[in-house]
Each structure stands twice: as C-alpha cells, then as structure tokens.
C-alpha cells in the first residue's frame, strides 16, 4: 500500500467545513421546538464526532458541551418553575406565591407549576443545549489553531490574543489537575468547598504564567514581523476598512428598517463590502506570511457542508410550507409528531461520518510484538510512546483504523 499524498488524507477535513456543517445543524435547531427533532440533531452531531474525531486533546471537548447542555436545561426549568409564565393546564405542584406590585405584571414568583410550563421550558432549554452541542462538535472535530490559519492576513493582528486565549482553557485544565495533585501531596482537601478554596489563585497564576511564555515564544519565532509598506498603502488599508464597515452597518440598518434608506440599503452594503475587501488586501501586504501545506477545499469538504445545508434547508422549507409537527404544542398535551421531511433532512447530516476522510491518527491499538524464540522483538524507536504502544507509520495506522472501524475510509478522497 503506498501512501496517498492527498492533503485531506493526511490532515483530515478543512476546519472551516466542519464549522459550516456544525453551524448549519445549529441553525436547523433554531427552526424547531420538536424535542424529537432536537434530540435527533444532537445524536447526529455526537455520532459524527465519535466517528471522525482525532486523538488530539481538544477532541474531547464535546463531553464538556454535553454537560453544559444538561446544566442549561436544568437552569431553564428551575427558572421557569420559580419565576416563569403560568400556563394553564395540569398542575404538578404549587409553590408558595410571593405577591408582587402591580407594575411587575408578567413576572411572578411561585404559584402553580403546570406540566405544560415545565415541558415548554425543558424543550426551550433543550434547543439551546443542542446549539451548544453543535458548537462542541465543531470544536472537537476541527483544530482551533488550523481554523485560525484560514483567517485573512489582516486579521492576523488579532492572532496573538486569539492564540493565547485558545491555549488558555487547556492550560487551566492542566493547572487544575496539577494543583489538585499538589494539594493531595500536601495533605489538603481536594474536594468540596474546602478544596476549591485556595485553588483559584495558584491555577490562574500558573495558567497566566504559561500564557505569557507562549506570547514571548511567538514573538521570538517571528510572529508579527512587518514588511516595509509605503505609508500611503497603510492609510488606504485602515481607512477603506473603516469606511467600508460603517457603510455596511448603515446598509444593514436600512435592510431591517425598510424605507429609511434608498433601495433598502443594498447599495450601501455592496459598496461597503468592496471597500472592506480593498482594505484587507492592502493591509495584508504588510505581512509576508506564507502557509505550510494549506488546507484544501475538495469534494469531501463540499459533501460535508452540503449535508449540513440539506439539514438546514429541509427545516426551513418545512417551516415555510407549514409542515405540521415542527413546533411543539403543549396545549393540549400530547406526544410530539414526527414530521418525515425534516427528520430525513436531519439524518442527511450524518453524511460526514463516512464522507469526511478518517482523521490522521497515531497508534490507537495496543500492539503486542510478535514473539520470536520466546523473546519479544523490539518495536519502535528508542524514545517511543510512553508505553508499549508501537509507533506505527501513518500508513499502517491508516489501514489499522480502517479495519477497526469497518467503515469506508476512502470516502471522497478525490
């Protein structure tokens, strides 16, 4: 088996494709309040993540987003129970009511809690949770650093801040683990309130320390070098970006408030966009960065984004044509319907689980060396993985993964 040199095979999908796919799914979630459809979207996102995530540390972040989703639902329900709108219907229980002055109409504290209001709140929370999960999926599938590389040159200005903040969260997680260990070694509590107290300062201190080291390392490695550009070009870049953004802002205002600007503000938006483009091009000439093996946009990327678009389009179309079952009806209470077209549309979102190339990965399988003459043959170089895991070449691993997951990895590797 020869090594395929397609960049998508080596590096996995273009990060922007994952983000667009996830954004489409999140968009689809905003168009419905049917809990079955919402749950389906979450399952689709989770399945694709489990099929196509890498072994990298950020790929575990989906778990965190799932937990956050649960918290969102619980908070939404609790808030509804205490402060919420009192929908009439099946009373579950009654909380003591706090009388509020008349000007606080529409807000109540306590009172009768109905099944209808609880379900409505739960579904509302679920929708937000699913949107969070979609973003969690994008986070797990695409390396944040590689996404950053796709930004146009002029936005690289903000790059230090973004890179450092991207590194900050993992730093904090690692610092927490280190501080917990240190506290246990010193015989201090690691759990509960007592454990939390006194951990914040060392954790933040070490994470900030490392962020500073990262910034100095970026600088020492040539980040932010400038090419001498005539001051005219520099002013053109800054000026045209600023004017362009102002025009776009005015144009959007016109689009939303019909009649306040001629032609609904469309010309404003168009001219503004051109100016911003010119500004970015002029500003981009100040750095002479090059890109190492840039991510390519190929068939697989189109398929992934397309599958997300189909999911979104099916829900929008269903909404426009008035397919029943898209919105949850709580009065009267009944089991939600299952609208066929949106459901099939959402399921199309599963396509990346096979269409996206298998992520480049390193040994995921415990490899026992073959026993020859009763002595195991040495495997791997001297300074290998921290274990008996054999370091395998990308080729061998690719085939091993193909066998393991028993899924077509060829996909659309054009």
């Amino acid at each position: 088996m020869t090594r395929r040199s397609t960049p998508s095979g080596r590096r996995g999908l273009h990060p922007a494709a994952w983000w667009l796919w996830a954004a489409c799914l999140a968009g689809a979630a905003t168009r419905t309040t049917n809990p079955i459809l919402l749950a389906l979207i979450a399952v689709v996102a989770a399945f694709v993540v489990s099929a196509r995530r890498t072994a990298a540390p950020w790929s575990r972040s989906i778990v965190f987003f799932f937990r956050m989703g649960v918290v969102v639902i619980v908070v939404r329900v609790v808030v509804q129970v205490i402060f919420g709108d009192r929908l009439p219907g099946h009373v579950l229980f009654t909380l003591p009511q706090v009388p509020l002055p008349s000007w606080a109409a529409g807000v109540s504290i306590g009172g009768q809690v109905t099944a209808e209001s609880v379900i409505e709140a739960a579904v509302d929370g679920l929708r937000l949770a699913v949107i969070l999960i979609c973003f969690g999926a994008a986070n797990s599938l695409a390396s944040p650093y590689r996404l950053l590389r796709c930004l146009p040159a002029i936005l690289y200005e903000a790059g230090v801040a973004v890179t450092v903040s991207l590194a900050f969260a993992p730093e904090v997680v690692m610092a927490i683990a280190a501080v917990r260990d240190a506290r246990r070694l010193r015989g201090r509590p690691t759990r509960g309130v007592a454990g939390l107290r006194g951990m914040a300062i060392p954790v933040l201190e070490s994470a900030l320390d490392r962020s500073l080291q990262l910034a100095s390392s970026m600088d020492a490695r040539g980040y932010g070098r400038r090419v001498a550009v005539p001051s005219g070009t520099r002013r053109l870049g800054a000026g045209s970006t600023a004017v362009g953004l102002l025009l776009i802002m005015a144009g959007v205002y016109g689009l939303l408030d019909t009649g306040s600007l001629p032609a609904g503000g469309v010309p404003f938006v168009a001219v503004g966009a051109v100016l911003v483009g010119v500004g970015m091009a002029a500003g981009g000439r100040r750095t002479d960065r090059t890109r190492y093996r840039p991510d390519l946009w190929r068939t697989a990327e189109w398929l992934v984004v397309g599958s997300g678009a189909v999911a979104l389009a099916s829900l929008i179309a269903a909404g426009v044509t008035g397919v029943s079952g898209l919105q949850l009806v709580v009065t009267p209470l009944r089991f939600p319907q299952l609208p066929l077209v949106p459901m099939v549309g959402v399921l199309v979102g599963l396509l990346p689980a096979v269409a996206a190339p298998a992520p480049p990965t390193f040994a995921t399988i415990r490899h026992r060396p073959p026993v020859v003459d009763g002595r195991p043959e040495p495997v791997g170089p001297a300074d290998a993985v921290p274990s008996a895991v054999a370091v395998e070449s990308a080729v061998a691993v690719e085939s091993a993964v193909a066998v393991e997951s028993a899924e077509p990895v060829e996909g659309s590797r054009a």
Partner: protein
C-alpha cells in the same frame, strides 16, 4: 557573530544588576557553553541574545548586544527570528501550534519562506532529529524527550545562524540527551552554526564545547576561556574532571576516551583495592536487603486510554534503602511514583505502602506515610514567602508550629525567610518542597527527577539529605535520569522500560554493565567497578569529601 559590549542589565525593582559590564564575543561556528550556579544570570544572558531581555521582561539594559550586525536595541525579537533561534527551558510552554509538523513550519511561515522550500526543510528537520514517525502527533501526546527535540527542530527548520539553548538536556534521559547533543555538534561542524547553550549537567556537554563562559553571579565579571582551561580551576566540575584532579592528570581530559588513555596506571593501582560494599553503606546507611518491605507493588498495570504506562510491574522496597528508578523518557517512572503517592490507583494489580493501598488513605493520614516531591517542586508551593509557606504547612497538616521551619533548617540552613518561593533558586525551591514533604514524617519518600536544574553544590546537599533519611530508616525512591546521582546515592537500581521492570539489583551491578546508565568514573575505570570519585579517593587512602 554575537557581541556583548559593556552590557549591564537590571530587572525592574531589583536593587542590584543581574549582569554588569559584560563584554563577550562569540564567533561564528562556535559551540559555547554557559555555566554557573542557578540564579547567577545564565538565562538572562541567553535571552539577551535575541532581545527577549529586555523587550519581553522589562528592566533596564545598558550597553549593546549585536547579533550578526543587528543590535537588539533596534530590532525586537521577531525581527531577529531569521537569525537567532531560542529554545527555552520548558519546551512545552513554547509550542504555538498543535501538531509536530505544523510546529516545525511555524517559524518559517512567519518568515515568509516559499511553500516548496518550507516543505523540503520540514522534511530535512524531521530526518535530522529523528522525528518523522511523530509528524502527525499532537504535541501534547509526546514524551519529554520528544518535546525537546520538536522544540529544537522548530527553531532549526528556519535555519538560523545562531542557536541558543537553555538546558536542552535537563529533561532527557542519557540516550536522548546524547542524541540531541550529537545533532547539535553536527550542525556546528557541517553548517557552521553558532550554538550557545547553558547546562548544569556538565558531564554531558563538556566534550562538545569549544569555549566555556562561567557566570559567577551577583554581577561579578564573566570568566571566559577554553574548556580545558576553565575546567582545570572551575569550582563546578563534572566527575571526570574531579577524577583527573585526584589523579593529577594534565591537561584535564574532557571526554571519557581521553581519560581512559590516561587512566592505565590508576586502574592498576585500584586493581587490588577493596571495593566498598555499596556507596550508601560507606555513607553509614543500613543496607535494606533483609529488611521487611515497606512498599509492595505487585503486578500493577496502568492504562491511559490505549496507552499502557505500567505493565505488570512488581517491585518491593525496604526500610533504609535508597532506590534509583531509571529508564528512558516515558517509561513509566512518574506513573509508578503517582501510584505509590496515592494520586492514582492501578488499573490492575495491587500497590501497598505500609500494608495499605495509599489511595484508601485520607489526605491527612497519607502524608504521614508517604511523601512525594514532584518533578516541578514549585508546584507544591503557593505561599507568599518562605516563612508563610512553612507556617501554613504546619497549620494545615496539624503539626506543632515550627516543625516545617526546623526541618527546612536541617535540609538547607539559612534560607531567606521573606523571599517569594518563585524567586528562590532551583535548589532552594527543592529544599523547601522537601522540607514540607518531610515534616509530617513519612516513612516512604519519593522524589521525581530532583536534580533537574540543580547545580553541583545543591546536588551534593541533596545526596547528603537522602543518605541521612536512609540512615534513619526511611525508604527513599528517586526517579532520575541523572546517572551520577544514582551512582552516588543509590543502594539499588530499578530500570523500567515500556512500563515493565527490566532490571532490579544492586546499583553497582546494574549501572556498571549498562553503556547508557554507567557513570563517568565507571566508564573510565572499567572493567574495575568503581562508581564515584569519592570511592576512588577512599581507596587511594584519602578522605571522603562529604564527611
């Protein structure tokens, strides 16, 4: 290539300068070694070369540093990136991207090197440092030695003319360190790169260095000279040089090969001399061969996901033993220590300390049984001052006030009480962490890589403390890459490889027969099994230095 003209540097708020009136010139194609005690200003000197000092640290720099004709006064570090590559002490904190290949390309991307040239240079660097099998790995999944090589590759790929390295081998096992140093020498010889490196483990780097810059600290003038000249008189010297001074060899040999050619007569004199039982026995320790085991590890395995960190390892440790735990980077040493300290429990098998699994004990009880000083001793410290740290330790562990402070006085007398732990030297920090761990009186003391960043005097101090602990009947386990430390202090050596115990026996037997783990004295005097200069000194009728 590099010229310091009358350079003085004072950190903000410091009352005396770290560097004062430094005049130094380093030529092209030179491998220059910077030595000195911790806190003497080595790192400041190195970071001034590419302008990180003062552009990133603040403070006041007088005089001028010029590199390849460019002054750091006019050029910030980013404008010097094509000329100077800097590898810091802790490579993991310098990584910007997330995979090995991207990391190697990062500097070149910033320099605007054409994509096809970049592609070629990344491949060259992968080969040069033996990283091609790791090219797609996330950087966080690498072992310490691999990270160090990636960090060096990441600056090398941009082919700078000057390479600055701050303790490049401190985290590496002996074999990996030799590999890194060999690649550096090749760069110096083949492409005429100028290399400036700071290192505490002189025994590893001395043979490669052309010149040595001794930074005495406290703003005293630098001492610069050829390696042999400096080593003949230097207060800090590797065992090889100590042996040469003892035997009266001149000129001082800098490599084991040179020393062996001179060592014939010495070997003959030593041939009939009685060997000491074990090195620690000479120091007065009880040999724990027949003691009842305090620590039992029975077929313990630990898995991190698909990675097996410990594979059916079995070890027993007795009271009064000092055991060195050795093995290459990522062989499971730290994992084993974490098991014994009760931080993790094994996936399979059984780990007991004083008859009980340590994870079953509550934190308060645990520290009276077993104490661990982690690799980064500073992780244990979060007080505002040394005195504050000691009193907090007493209060939180329910000890009599002053216990930790008096323990600290025993470990390292005369600590500055009002200093912030972060501003202590590496040796002082280790002493403070050790005192905190020892104060509750654990019978098992574990140390993870204690000599990282430690200068020779601090190391001597540590050896004495460990010997005393063993003499008092404690069980000491030291995970280390430092073969000289193991030779000096260990009664027994356990070697791990890929999570399995591959060797377990008396220190002399294990290290003398290993080309990797043998200390310099053993290499010079082989086949005679001598381990340390002190043993030789005693055999020749002299007095031990540490008594």
């Amino acid at each position: 290539m590099i010229r310091f003209s009358d350079v003085s540097f004072t950190y903000d708020g410091a009352d005396h300068p770290t560097l004062s009136h430094v005049d130094l010139s380093i030529d092209e194609g030179e491998l220059c070694l910077v030595v000195g005690q911790t806190g003497s200003g080595k790192t400041t000197l190195l970071r001034a070369i590419n302008g990180l000092v003062p552009h990133f640290t603040g403070g006041h720099l007088g005089g001028e540093v010029r590199v390849g004709g460019r002054s750091t006064r006019d050029f910030p570090p980013r404008e010097l990136a094509d000329l100077v590559g800097v590898v810091g002490q802790n490579p993991a904190t310098s990584f910007v991207t997330d995979t090995v290949e991207d990391e190697l390309a990062y500097t070149m991307e910033n320099l605007g090197i054409a994509p096809d040239a970049m592609r070629r240079r990344v491949e060259d660097t992968l080969d040069l440092l033996g990283l091609h099998e790791l090219r797609n790995r996330p950087l966080t999944a690498l072992s310490g030695g691999q990270q160090q090589r990636v960090a060096i590759g990441a600056v090398l790929s941009a082919s700078p003319r000057v390479l600055v390295l701050d303790e490049p081998t401190s985290a590496l096992d002996p074999a990996a360190a030799e590999e890194v140093l060999a690649s550096l020498t090749r760069l110096v010889h083949d492409v005429g790169m100028t290399v400036v490196l700071a290192e505490h483990r002189l025994e590893r780097v001395i043979p490669f260095a052309d010149r040595v810059v001794l930074v005495p600290g406290d703003g005293a003038p630098l001492v610069v000279g050829s390696t042999a000249d400096i080593m003949a008189t230097s207060p800090v010297a590797p065992p090889l040089v100590e042996l040469a001074r003892l035997a009266g060899w001149s000129p001082v040999p800098l490599s084991v090969r040179d020393a062996r050619r001179l060592a014939g007569p010495l070997r003959q004199r030593l041939a009939g001399a009685p060997l000491p039982g074990t090195s620690a026995a000479v120091g007065g320790a009880v040999v724990g061969a027949d003691a009842t085991p305090v620590v039992r590890v029975a077929r313990a395995s630990v898995h991190y996901g698909p990675v097996v960190a410990l594979d059916h390892a079995s070890v027993e440790l007795g009271a009064g033993e000092v055991v060195a735990l050795m093995g290459r980077n990522g062989s499971g040493k730290s994992t084993l220590l974490a098991q014994l300290a009760g931080l993790r429990s094994p996936s399979e098998g059984r780990v007991t300390v004083a008859g009980k699994p340590p994870t079953d004990l509550p934190a308060r009880k645990l520290i009276t049984v077993v104490g661990l000083v982690p690799q980064d001793a500073g992780a244990l410290l979060y007080g505002e001052t040394v005195a504050d740290e000691c009193s907090t330790a007493d209060r939180e562990t329910g000890l009599d006030p002053g216990t930790t402070a008096s323990m600290l006085d025993e470990v390292l007398p005369g600590m500055p009480q009002n200093r912030h732990p972060r501003d202590l030297s590496e040796g002082q920090r280790l002493a403070l962490a050790l005192a905190i761990v020892l104060a509750p009186g654990p019978s098992v003391v574990l140390l993870d890589e204690p000599t990282r960043g430690l200068d020779y005097p601090s190391k001597e101090r540590l050896v004495m403390v460990l010997r005393k602990l063993a003499a008092d009947g404690d069980c000491v386990l030291v995970a280390t890459h430092d073969v000289e430390l193991a030779a000096q202090v260990a009664t027994r050596v356990v070697v791990l490889a890929e999570g399995e115990v591959v060797a377990d026996g008396p220190a002399r037997d294990v290290v003398c027969h290993s080309p990797v783990f043998a200390p310099q004295v053993a290499k010079v005097l082989a086949p005679e099994p001598w381990l340390t200069v002190d043993e030789v000194r005693v055999a020749l009728g002299g007095r031990r230095r540490d008594q």
